[in-house]
C-alpha cells in the first residue's frame, strides 16, 4: 500500500460471486477490480497490462459480459457475478478453448491469453444456431477486437476460436436433430 492510502476512506464490504463462489471481501473504495483480484484475493491469472483500457489483458466477465478489470471500481461488482481465467479450466481439465489455444499455438508469451480467453468464451457462449448458423471469422475478430496480442499476429488465435466455435455449433446441430427425431 502506498502512503496515500493512509488517508483513504475506510474499506467497504463487497459481496460478489467470483467464479461461481460467494465471496465477501473488504476493499478500499478507490481500488479497481484488478487490484482486488490480484492483490486482495491473490488471483493473479488476470493480468495487468496498460492499466488504462487500451490492451484488454485484464478482461474478465462481469454478469457474462467481457469488461476491463483495470477500469472497474471494485465496489461496483457488488452483488454481481465475476468470472476470471481461474474459473475457466485446470491443467488437467482445460476448457475446450484453452485446449485449442495450446494445441494450435495460439499462446506465445501468454500475457494476453487470459484476457483473450475471457473475450473468446463470451463469444462462444453466445453462439446460437439461429443467430450464427455459419461461423464467420470477421465475427470472431470483432469479438476479440479489444484484446491486443504482440506475438502471434492473431492468426492462430482466430484459428483456435474458430475451431471451437464450429464444434459448439455442430453439437447444437446434432442436439437439434436428435430432438427432432425423438418427436
Amino acid at each position: 500500500m502506498s502512503s496515500s492510502d493512509l488517508n483513504a476512506p475506510a474499506p467497504v464490504l463487497v459481496n460478489l460471486q467470483l467464479n461461481g463462489e460467494a465471496t465477501s471481501v473488504a476493499v478500499p473504495p478507490h481500488w479497481t477490480l484488478l487490484e482486488l483480484l490480484r492483490y486482495g484475493l491473490g488471483q493473479t491469472g488476470t493480468k495487468q497490462g496498460c492499466d488504462k483500457g487500451d490492451c484488454g489483458t485484464c478482461t474478465v466477465r462481469i454478469d457474462g459480459e467481457p469488461q476491463l478489470a483495470c477500469l472497474t471500481l471494485a465496489v461496483d461488482v457488488r452483488d454481481r457475478s465475476v468470472e476470471t481465467i481461474e474459473g475457466l479450466g485446470t491443467g488437467g481439465e482445460p476448457h475446450p478453448l484453452q485446449e485449442a489455444f495450446a494445441r494450435l499455438g495460439a499462446a506465445q508469451c501468454g500475457f494476453c491469453t487470459p484476457g483473450m480467453l475471457m473475450s473468446a468464451t463470451a463469444y462462444v457462449d453466445d453462439l446460437t444456431l439461429q443467430d450464427n448458423p455459419q461461423v464467420k471469422r470477421d465475427d470472431i475478430a470483432a469479438a476479440l477486437a479489444g484484446n491486443l496480442c504482440r506475438c502471434t499476429g492473431y492468426t492462430k488465435i482466430l484459428d483456435a476460436v474458430e475451431e471451437v466455435a464450429h464444434s459448439v455449433l455442430n453439437r447444437q446441430r446434432e442436439l437439434a436433430e436428435s430432438t427432432a427425431e425423438d418427436e
Binding site: S2, S4, D5, N7, A8, P9, P28, P29, H30, W31, T32, E35, Q48, D51, K52, G53, D54, G56, T59, E65, P66, Q67, L68, C70, L71, T72, L73, V75, D76, S119, A142, A143, A145, G146, N147, L148
Partner: protein, 334 residues
C-alpha cells in the same frame, strides 16, 4: 501499476440526492458512469478530484424511449445497448454506427452515451504520465503556461474525440441537464466551447440526464464516418457526420459536422448548396468545403496535413453513401 488516488464514492439513488451531492462538492467532483475515460484520466493525474458521484443507480439516466416525435436516451445508457437498439438502428442509424465504432467491445460494455459526450479532450501532450508532462514543463491543460501544439497559443486546443457528438449535432439532439437549481436543456451544437481544458459547457454542479433527438423525416439522411489507424480501440483521428435534407430530389439543406479538430466541433451548414443535385459533384463540393473551413491540428497522432486530406475523403464517401453512389469510385480522386 497505475493507481487511483483515494476518493469518496457517492452512490445516490435519486436525482435530488445526486444534484445535492454535486452542488455540495463542486468543483472537486465528477460524475462517474462507465468510468472508461474518467478513471484512466485520474490514474494519470490529469483529472484530480476527491469526490465521485455514481450514475449507476439513477433510474432516470437509464433506457431508451421512443415517442411520436423523439427518441430519448438516458445518459447512462450503455454504448453497446445504444449501438444495437432496434429503434436507434431504424431511426438514427448514424448514431448507432458511431456508438458501434467507439473503442473496443469491453469498453462499449462499460461506457455510456453521457460519458462519451463528456469525454475529456485529447492531445499528445496531455495523455501522458504526470512525470512525462512535468519533464516538458507542463502545458495549458496540465499545470503549465505553454502550448506545445500552437507555439505561443493562449488557449488549449486539445481535441474533442467523442465519436457520438458529430452525429448527435447532425440529428439536432438536445441534452437535458439537472442541478440543484432545476432542469435545463441545451442543444448539443451549443454544448462545446473553444477551451480544451474543459470544453463541455456542463457545470460541475450539473448532471447530464438524457439526450433527446427529434425523429428525422424520411427526407433527412445522416452518415457518420471515422478514421483511425486501427479498426478498433483507437480514438477518432478524423470524425465527420454529414446530414443531407432532400426535397424533390435535390438538396434542401443539411450540415457537415467535423470532430477531432480542436475542443469544439466545426458545424458547416449547406445553405449555399441548396438546389444541388444529389451526385458526385455534391460530394466534391462538400469535400472542398471542409478542406477550406475545417483544419486538423498537430494535437492528436498522425500528420495534421494527412488528416486534413483524409477528412475530405471521408466527407466525400459519406455523401456518396447518402446519395446511392459507390463509396469508392474508380477514379484517381477516390
Amino acid at each position: 501499476m497505475l493507481r487511483l488516488s483515494p476518493f469518496t464514492l457517492h452512490q445516490p439513488k435519486t436525482l435530488d440526492e445526486a444534484t445535492q451531492l454535486l452542488a455540495q462538492h463542486a468543483p472537486d467532483v465528477r460524475v462517474i458512469s462507465g468510468g472508461t475515460d474518467l478513471l484512466p484520466n485520474m490514474k494519470l493525474a490529469q483529472t484530480k478530484v476527491t469526490h465521485l458521484v455514481s450514475a449507476k443507480f439513477l433510474e432516470e439516466l437509464h433506457g431508451i424511449e421512443r415517442t411520436e416525435t423523439h427518441v430519448r436516451i438516458g445518459a447512462a445508457t450503455g454504448l453497446k445497448t445504444l449501438a444495437e437498439d432496434p429503434d436507434v438502428l431504424e431511426l438514427l442509424p448514424a448514431l448507432a454506427y458511431a456508438a458501434s465504432r467507439i473503442a473496443s467491445p469491453q469498453i462499449r460494455n462499460m461506457g455510456t452515451l453521457g460519458g462519451n459526450i463528456s469525454l475529456d479532450t485529447r492531445c499528445r501532450y496531455i495523455n501522458q504520465s504526470e512525470l512525462w508532462r512535468e519533464a516538458l514543463g507542463g502545458c495549458l491543460k496540465s499545470h503549465g503556461t505553454e502550448c506545445h501544439v500552437v507555439p505561443g497559443g493562449q488557449g488549449c486546443v486539445a481535441a474533442l474525440s467523442a465519436d457520438t457528438v458529430p452525429s448527435l449535432i447532425a440529428y439536432g439532439a438536445v441534452v437535458e441537464l439537472a442541478s440543484d437549481k432545476g432542469l435545463r436543456r441545451a442543444p448539443v451544437s451549443e454544448l462545446f466551447q473553444q477551451d480544451g481544458t474543459w470544453h463541455v459547457r456542463i457545470a460541475r454542479e450539473e448532471l447530464l440526464v438524457a439526450v433527446e433527438i427529434p425523429i428525422p423525416s424520411p427526407q433527412t439522411r445522416v452518415a457518420y464516418r471515422k478514421w483511425a489507424v486501427r479498426q478498433s480501440i483507437d480514438f477518432p483521428l478524423v470524425s465527420v457526420a454529414v446530414r443531407l435534407d432532400v426535397a424533390d430530389g435535390v438538396l434542401a439543406g443539411g450540415s457537415v459536422v467535423v470532430g477531432a479538430l480542436g475542443p469544439r466541433p466545426r458545424v458547416l451548414t449547406l445553405e449555399r448548396l441548396v438546389g444541388s443535385t444529389l451526385d458526385e459533384k455534391l460530394a466534391q463540393a462538400l469535400g472542398q468545403m471542409v478542406y477550406d473551413r475545417a483544419r486538423p491540428l498537430p494535437n492528436i497522432p498522425y500528420d495534421a496535413e494527412y488528416r486534413r486530406e483524409r477528412m475530405v475523403v471521408e466527407v466525400r464517401r459519406a455523401v456518396r453513401s447518402l446519395v446511392g453512389l459507390p463509396e469508392r469510385p474508380l477514379t484517381p480522386q477516390a
